[in-house]
């Protein structure tokens, strides 16, 4: 193995710049304060990967000296360049955008994961253009495949499912919309812990929209089942506020309406049914009424063709029941939360009850404000109140559980 990089070789001289770039990035990641519980694991992840990449880069340089064919040399160089640029850009993007996510949102997600006994989930919250969830591990392992085998093996053995949750700024500003994240958290939990859907339908190696024409029915069944399951988890956990906010946010286009996702109509029907099972008939009726105003596209396969969907949802339900995570309406508690929020006092007993009350209180407050400026002011103040309530609820729960020990 070469111990030094020969300067006279033009292809290598460009690659050489990655040694210092990677070391600088490692240092930057170590020094940056990243909000959220994923900080340490992310730092460890990047640090170990960079150590692996540095070793492999050195090896590539010695290999380049052995390769005679200039085209092969340059192909290798180009791929090293592309893979490392993409990796460095990922890290840079995460560092720039992770601190744009507020402490309250971090607390909110931790609160949910604690409820689901999943605080060991590897994730980071990052400000991004649309509400979505993606696997950083899968992305990087494809970038490193073959050429950076050591880094590739490291990801698969130590960090197999590190995930990034992208949150748009407009959603971050409005905490009444935060339950929408639960759909993405549902995917995160399924991918890292439950793995229920893939026991019934094989997991495809690509995303639902990215191919140009033809879909294998099995792949569609996997994606559709995952969407129904994530809707189920979100509605079961948060109760009526979830589908209500989903409809209110329909026109952002964040709710995927491509033909590769189940139809809006079928998704709503499943949520209505779920609310009825939860004893929330009134909310089910409101949801049906609201959803009539929205048009639906035909799905590529009907829900009826998902022969294992009932089993998938039953197993998911068992998981949530086991964690006592299913929302149960308590009218007295809801009333108390409503009154507290109307008086502009933080409600700190239970985040789920508080958010279910907050939707209605906010609507009433906005109706009473008679100008655009007043509505904006009310909204701003109310959002602050809800964020404080979330943070205090989380703190209170941590404090109570520590006192109990």
């Amino acid at each position: 193995m070469a111990t030094s990089v020969p300067d006279e070789f033009p292809i290598v001289s460009r690659i050489r710049s990655y040694f210092s770039l990677l070391r600088t990035t490692k240092g930057e990641v170590e020094q940056t304060r990243i909000t959220g519980s994923g900080e340490n694991r992310f730092k460890e992840f990047v640090s170990k990967l960079i150590d692996d990449l540095l070793i492999e880069l050195q090896e590539h340089i010695s290999i380049m000296e052995e390769i005679e064919d200039l085209d092969t040399k340059s192909t290798l160089s180009e791929n090293i360049h592309r893979s490392l640029e993409a990796f460095l850009n990922w890290v840079d993007m995460i560092l720039r955008h992770c601190n744009a996510v507020s402490i309250e949102m971090q607390e909110f997600v931790s609160y949910i994961l604690r409820d689901l006994d999943a605080n060991d989930t590897d994730y980071l919250l990052v400000s991004g253009p649309e509400l979505s969830e993606t696997s950083l591990s899968e992305s990087l392992s494809k970038l490193f495949m073959v050429l950076f085998q050591r880094a590739f093996d490291r990801i698969n053995s130590e960090f197999p499912s590190f995930c990034i949750l992208f949150l748009p700024q407009s959603l971050l500003k409005n905490p009444v919309n935060w339950p929408l994240c639960m759909h993405e958290i549902g995917h995160m939990i399924e991918n890292q812990k439950l793995k229920i859907v893939e026991r019934f339908y094989p997991r495809p190696e690509f995303s639902p929209i990215s191919t140009r024409i033809m879909y294998n029915t099995q792949a569609l069944k996997y994606w559709y089942s995952k969407e129904f399951q994530a809707d189920y988890i979100a509605t079961a956990y948060f109760g009526p506020i979830l589908p209500s906010q989903l409809i209110d946010n329909y026109f952002t286009g964040e709710v995927f309406l491509y033909a590769t996702h189940p139809s809006w109509e079928e998704r709503i029907r499943v949520m209505v049914e779920e609310l009825r099972i939860m004893g929330l008939e009134e909310s089910a009726k409101i949801l049906l009424e609201k959803s009539r105003r929205i048009s639906s596209k035909r799905p590529m396969i009907p829900k009826g063709s998902l022969e294992h969907l009932d089993e998938i949802l039953e197993e998911t339900q068992s998981f949530l029941e086991d964690k006592s995570a299913i929302y149960k309406i308590n009218k007295n508690r809801l009333e108390s939360a409503r009154k507290t929020l109307e008086e502009f006092i933080p409600y700190t007993d239970d985040v789920k009850t508080m958010l279910n009350a907050a939707g209605e209180v906010k609507k009433n407050l906005l109706e009473k404000a008679d100008s655009f400026e007043k509505k904006e002011k009310v909204e701003e103040d109310f959002n602050r109140l809800i964020k404080d309530s979330i943070r205090l609820s989380s703190l209170k729960r941590t404090f109570v559980s520590q006192r109990g020990k």
């Binding site: 192909t75 290798l76 993409a86 850009n89 050429l147 085998q149 140009r212 879909y215 569609l220």
Partner: protein, 158 residues
């Protein structure tokens, strides 16, 4: 069973990321084959591992292409078939089967070359395989050029 679907003009953010990573994985795999051929005769552990990985990749590609050619309505089932279909699709959303057949023939040929290397024989048709691999890498690059621009557009520092 296949389900036809015309892709929307744009791609959602997460799908762009996935598209880019899939084509990078294929380009890395193809480069691995090129190096395994180029460094034949080198007995190091690393080169042996490249050779083994390249044999697996060529065989998997050949099998995937065979399935795509046989199917009346070829479907995507893994990231290899996804990239092959993206490469062989025509402007009127049809699959160019002849192109898939050419890929299959060339992957089979490359597999034979790699097998001969593994058996420590001087392989025939090395230049054909190398030329196929190089032009295939170029095809992948051209097909995903727009994806690459969008991908780095999302990730690059602002």
């Amino acid at each position: 069973m296949a389900v036809s679907y015309k892709k929307p003009e744009g791609l959602p953010f997460v799908e762009i990321l996935d598209d880019y990573h899939n084509q990078m994985a294929i380009r890395n795999l193809l480069t691995g084959v090129l190096i395994a051929i180029e460094l034949r005769g080198n007995d190091s552990k690393r080169v042996k591992r490249w050779l083994k990985g390249s044999l697996d990749f060529c065989k998997k590609s050949e099998n995937t292409l065979e399935r795509l050619i046989k199917d009346e309505n070829p479907t995507v089932d893994n990231f290899l078939s996804k990239v092959f279909i993206d490469l062989a699709i025509t402007d009127n959303e049809k699959i160019d089967t002849r192109r898939l057949l050419t890929y299959k023939k060339n992957f089979a040929g490359t597999f034979n070359v790699l097998q001969q290397i593994q058996r420590k024989k001087e392989p025939k048709d090395v230049e054909n395989s190398k030329s196929f691999l190089k032009s295939f890498i170029e095809e992948v690059k051209v097909t995903y050029m727009k994806t690459e621009t969008l991908y780095f557009g999302y990730l690059s520092p602002r």
